[in-house]
């Protein structure tokens, strides 16, 4: 058990050290979502009216953009694995007396902390958007962001454990990331999309992460009518978090298995 625990914190510590050392990543992880928010907000804001009473397009998009930031930060856990393999550092980690489970969890937790940091930075612009953030909102957001991020990291690490080259990984991620984001209801309410699109959105796990964050920031879906309906029932934050967590558990277990396989 100590090997799992030590593996987790040592690997997470190094992920954070890397993040702090790489200023460019610090910068891009904050500005990429802002760019989306500004351009999409300015471009569509006037065309699309209020989606619900008091919720204009920018306000609607804002929690989705935050979830999108969490997704990119989390998938970086996978980038980091492929990177380490290419530069040989993975060997140093694999020969150390650390459990494989710990190494995978460490990568995921490292990514989650970075994601959390990014969320905090993005929340700083909430007054400009016109979304009121209260301490209770933040208290609710933290566990949701951490669970979402760890789950999505599992996806990144799982893919990384099968990829030998940086290019191959980037390519696959590019192919995956767009449907994950665009089908997740970041830019449109899933409930108002055509049926076929709704089906695709509802099998996309990212949808529940986006909606959970949106409900926490903009208020319960039960009243806004913007939520996700599954089998005739509007999903609550709790249900959505359970879905994301279950999926994360499966992805992380598969990632650990993928890591063990390469010994």
């Amino acid at each position: 058990m100590t090997e799992v625990w030590r593996g987790t914190w040592v690997v997470a510590y190094r992920e954070l050290l890397r993040f702090v050392n790489e200023r460019s990543r610090l910068f891009s992880s904050f500005f990429q979502p802002i760019v989306f928010l500004v351009i999409f907000g300015a471009g569509f804001g006037n065309v699309i009216g209020a989606l619900a009473p008091g919720v204009d397009f920018v306000k609607f998009m804002y929690p989705g953009i935050i979830a999108m930031g969490v997704l990119t930060s989390s998938l970086f856990a996978g980038v980091s694995v492929v990177w380490d393999r290419e530069f040989g550092f993975l060997r140093e980690v694999l020969v150390a007396p650390l459990a494989r489970t710990g190494i995978v969890l460490g990568k995921a937790i490292g990514a989650a902390v970075v994601a959390l940091l990014q969320v905090v930075l993005l929340l700083l612009i909430s007054p400009i958007i016109g979304v009121a953030i209260e301490p209770a909102t933040i208290a609710q957001l933290i566990p949701v962001v951490v669970i979402l991020s760890i789950s999505l990291s599992g996806l990144g690490i799982l893919i990384a454990s099968f990829m030998r080259s940086q290019q191959g990984f980037q390519l696959l991620i590019q192919v995956l990331i767009f449907p994950l984001i665009f089908l997740a209801g970041v830019f449109f309410p899933v409930s108002q999309a055509p049926d076929w699109l709704q089906v695709l959105s509802k099998v996309n796990p990212m949808t529940y992460g986006v909606d959970a964050i949106r409900q926490i920031m903009l208020g319960s879906a039960a009243t806004s009518g913007l939520g996700v309906e599954v089998f005739g029932q509007v999903m609550t934050v709790g249900q959505e978090v359970v879905i994301v967590a279950l999926l994360g558990a499966v992805l992380l277990s598969a990632a650990v298995w993928g890591f063990r396989r390469q010994e």
Binding site: R6, F89, A96, A99
Partner: protein, 328 residues
């Protein structure tokens, strides 16, 4: 025995890379593991380091089984690979700290050991610098320091000083000898440098997946069959005939020189020169080297393709630089 290997086998599909290797290493020994590329050297090391699971047989390091007690084995060994395994985006210090955390080295021991090791590899003044800015030699030195950080019982060195200048090599070896004295460090290494192989207490030679030789360097050299005497004379054929008749040796004529192998050449030579019936233009005596041993056991030169490739690259670079100058 700090390392015990018993009938170790590893298959890769149909290919049997290691075919039942057995040997033991005493604590404090410097053990050289030699063999041509593809002979099963790396496969054997990877099994001892718990990176590969043996197909059959068993091995233990520091008393721990390499299959069932992986974590304990890992804690007992230090590894310096041929390929770099540093995090280039961190500083030397950060790389060492990561290692110390990963191996659970206590904080007070860690800082003292880090200072000592950084001084040994001459990187104390660059400890805060990003590894990205280091030269190849500096990276290698840092890896060696890192491999020793957690007080390993056995240090595995895969071509430890490849590409290092003679001064640094000396320095590192002095420190390794000191550690052996002080901590009883056992060293298991592969090398293509003859002088480095000479410092080994014992050498194991592996070829085609089997151990073909295992002894002290002196004994291995003796096993080649004595010293080589080379003789220049105006009539090689007649000289060869006389040697054959008088001493019942087996001389060979190569490039109009007569050469033969004889046991105890140092004592044989004065007597031979005194008693030989023909004029001798020149005579030479050569003791067998580990190169001869390697050639004898594997049929190949010790400085095989691995170094050749590197030298070709260097030669290519020199040539390239040279051409640049003529154009400039």
């Amino acid at each position: 025995m700090i390392v015990e290997v018993d009938g170790l086998v590893r298959h890769f599909g149909q290919i049997e890379a290691v075919k039942g290797v057995s040997f033991g290493i005493e604590a404090g020994e410097i053990f050289g593991f030699l063999g041509p590329n593809g002979a099963g050297k790396t496969t054997t090391i990877n099994m001892l380091c718990t990176l590969l699971t043996p197909s059959a047989g068993r091995a233990s390091v520091n008393g721990f089984d390499v299959v069932h007690q992986r974590a304990e084995v890992r804690r007992s060994i230090g590894l310096v690979f041929q390929q770099p395994t540093l995090d280039e985006y961190l500083s030397a210090e950060q790389n060492l700290r990561f290692h110390a955390y990963a191996y659970g080295v206590p904080a007070d021991v860690r800082e003292r050991r880090m200072d000592e090791l950084l001084a040994m590899v001459d990187l104390a003044d660059r400890r805060k610098g990003s590894v990205r800015t280091y030269s190849g030699g500096m990276k290698r030195r840092l890896e060696i320091a890192r491999g020793l950080l957690h007080h390993p019982k056995v240090l595995f060195l895969d071509e430890p000083t490849l590409g290092l200048d003679p001064q640094t090599r000396r320095h590192i070896w002095d420190y390794l000898f000191a550690l052996r004295e002080r901590e009883g460090l056992t060293i298991f290494m592969t090398t293509h440098y003859m002088d480095e192989a000479e410092v080994c207490d014992r050498i194991g030679v592996i070829d085609h997946g089997s151990l073909v030789g295992l002894d002290t360097p002196a004994a291995l050299k003796r096993s080649v069959g004595g010293d080589v005497v080379t003789l220049a004379t105006d009539d090689p054929a007649a000289a060869a005939a006389e040697i054959r008749d008088r001493y019942s040796l087996e001389p060979e004529i190569r490039d109009s020189e007569v050469s033969f192998t004889v046991e105890g050449g140092d004592r044989f030579l004065p007597e031979f020169v005194r008693g030989f019936g023909r004029p001798i233009d020149a005579i030479g005596l050569r003791h067998p080297t580990l190169d001869d041993v390697f050639l004898h056991l594997t049929g190949r030169e010790i400085r095989d393709s691995e170094l050749d490739a590197q030298e070709q690259m260097l030669a290519g670079m020199r040539q390239w630089g040279g051409r640049g100058r003529t154009h400039g």
